[in-house]
């Protein structure tokens, strides 16, 4: 899931600590934290009222609530199992429970966590947590009275181991929880952990002793490379450099927030140490029916998106279909009109051609009349020819040079020119050959 929010609850000493943590992709955000001092000393009814008040006032999300119990309320244990028997792990653990704890199996809640090792590993390390029902039932009842159901509960050492593995997956980490009257220590290295608890009032000394025991029990090769995280209400009395938590936060983390942060992280990540002591039938279960309106809205939104994207195209398709129908309806009539227009064009063309032929008729009569009118009386023609609107005449004249100008001045003739030299005839006249175009036909 991309976005998930979880609330962690922890009773440390007599204080109730609450933190809301949100995971966005793989980034952990500490949303807020609240401490209720003296919560453990209240009566059951006062606890219920304080819890309801806290939840309502700060609008703490109630769908994913995880509780971290103190180490002294139960026990944790790590055992090695062969890989071949991993499918029957639950039955195998169940058979051995009564030999690991002083309670009978019907008096306890228990769970286990593990992760498959690398390929070829022959065994797997399993973390088992056991808590007497008498220690967890009051909490289940408290939350039930407040109208809530827990999503999960676990013992603090496994919650811390889960948180340390989530926040610093690659390197060994020692976590010291320093509260008034006790120091709890935890070493996490890979799938293994070592947990110790020292009770007493001298927090500094208890912390040193816890570290020494952890290093000894954990058989660390190079203790100086181990990250040491000290938290809790009495952490100020332990002279150790503070470790910055790799979480995004808009609030300043308070001392001891690691424990409650670890409780909340149980609901957000999965590691070999993740366990849940709350029986499945008592856990908060999400009613999937509540997602129906969201799903319906999403489907509706998706539908609206599709409608928005495809609306124009669909309308165009429908519009084009109507246009097609109209075009088909008109096609027959348009075909007739088209045939009529073709006929009209043909008739017009035929008429134009006919007019052109009529205008192109010969103009011999006009040319002969013009020559009779224009030529002087002493000019005699010996030939006249006409072809293609060009007239060629030859003859004799006393003054042939005037002929060209006379013919040029006529209305019908133009482009008048001599096409051969003038030759004096025996009669004393000059022989000429003239060509002219008949302009009347143009």
């Amino acid at each position: 899931m991309i976005l998930k929010t979880s609330a962690g609850f922890e009773l440390a000493g007599s204080d109730l600590r609450v933190a809301v943590v949100r995971r966005v992709w793989n980034t952990i955000h500490l949303v807020n934290q609240w401490y209720v001092e003296g919560f453990g000393e209240l009566s059951s009814e006062e606890k219920r009222e304080a819890l309801v008040s806290l939840l309502r006032r700060h609008r703490i999300p109630t769908s994913h609530i995880f509780l971290s119990l103190s180490h002294d309320l139960g026990m944790v244990r790590q055992v090695e199992f062969p890989v071949e028997g991993i499918e029957e792990l639950k039955e195998a653990i169940g058979l051995q429970l009564e030999s690991w704890c002083p309670w009978s199996s019907d008096e306890i809640y228990w769970d286990y966590g593990f992760e498959r090792g690398p390929k070829g590993a022959r065994s797997v390390t399993v973390s088992v947590t056991i808590v007497p029902r008498a220690n967890l039932d009051p909490w289940l009842e408290l939350f039930s009275n407040a109208g809530l159901r827990l999503s999960g509960a676990c013992l603090a050492p496994l919650a811390w181991a889960h948180a340390a593995t989530t926040l610093w997956p690659a390197s060994p980490t020692i976590v010291l929880g320093c509260e008034p009257g006790a120091v709890e220590g935890l070493l996490v290295e890979g799938p293994r952990f070592v947990a110790v608890r020292n009770s007493g009032e001298e927090t500094t000394r208890l912390a040193q002793e816890s570290i020494q025991r952890i290093v000894a029990l954990g058989r660390l090769d190079s203790p100086e490379d181990v990250r040491v995280l000290v938290h809790g209400a009495s952490s100020d009395s332990v002279p150790w450099d503070p470790v910055r938590l790799p979480v995004e936060s808009t609030v300043t983390p308070r001392p001891g927030v690691f424990g409650v942060l670890a409780a909340a992280l149980v609901g957000l990540k999965s590691t070999a140490f993740r366990t849940n002591l709350v029986p499945e039938e008592l856990r908060y279960r999400q009613n999937w029916l509540q997602w129906i309106p969201t799903g319906a809205l999403l489907v509706l939104l998706l539908g609206l998106g599709f409608v928005y994207v495809f609306q124009d195209g669909y309308q165009n398709v429908a519009y084009a279909a109507r246009l097609d129908a109209e075009i088909e309806r008109l096609a027959a009539e348009v075909g007739e009109v088209s045939a009529m227009e073709n006929e009209l064009n043909q008739l017009n063309e035929q008429y134009e051609v006919a007019i052109t032929h009529l205008a192109g008729r010969d103009t011999n009569l006009e040319a002969l009349a013009e020559l009779a009118r224009s030529l002087p009386a002493a000019t005699f023609l010996s030939s006249y020819s006409y072809e293609g609107n060009t007239v060629t005449i030859s003859g004799f004249s006393e003054s042939p040079a005037e002929l060209q100008q006379l013919l040029e001045d006529s209305v019908q003739l133009g482009d008048v020119e001599f096409i051969s030299p003038l030759v004096r005839d025996g009669s004393g006249k000059d022989r000429f050959v003239i060509r002219a175009s008949v302009e009347a036909s143009r």
């Binding site: 195209g313 008109l330 227009e341 009209l344 008429y351 006919a354 030939s383």
Partner: protein
Amino acid sequence: MKIQIRDRDRRALIGLTLALAVYLTMSELVFPAYDRLALASEAAVDKEDQLRRYRRALSRQTRDTELISEARDRVAELDGRWIQAESEGLASVQLQALVEEASQGAGIGVEQRNIVGMRQLDDYFGETTMTLSFDATPDQLVQFLTDLRVAPKVLTVGSIEIRPLEVVHEVPDQGELEKTLRVSLSVGALVLNPL
């Protein structure tokens, strides 16, 4: 070898299946449908243009009917001016008849005549031509040419050559100069829709 499917493997397989389903749905259904619908816009514009052209054409129907009627009348008016014959030979016969009628009207005796044949001028007209030669006085020639021009069918003198039989250089002192001309010409007639 036993294959173990863990939760995260199952989630990855479900995610992969969903991604594949989304990809196939989008690539095979949604995008092709979207492309088709996108093309519908251009198709609608084309069809609008076509319908607009159709409606314009229909709006011209009445006017075109009137124009066709007028054009037919105009063309029909001119049809009587062309030779209309079923064959080239019949067209030549009509031409010869018209020329003979004109020559007889002018009192000319045609000495030689020759039918050249038909040639196509354009899609609507052909031309049948004949050549002829004769002797005539100037008055007879003018009368002949005038008769050709006013003939019931359109006749055109394509070429003409006129020479006097006797060349004169002076006007006679007394009496009328009797001139006789040797004329050679070609006459063509337009034939409507030749076969």
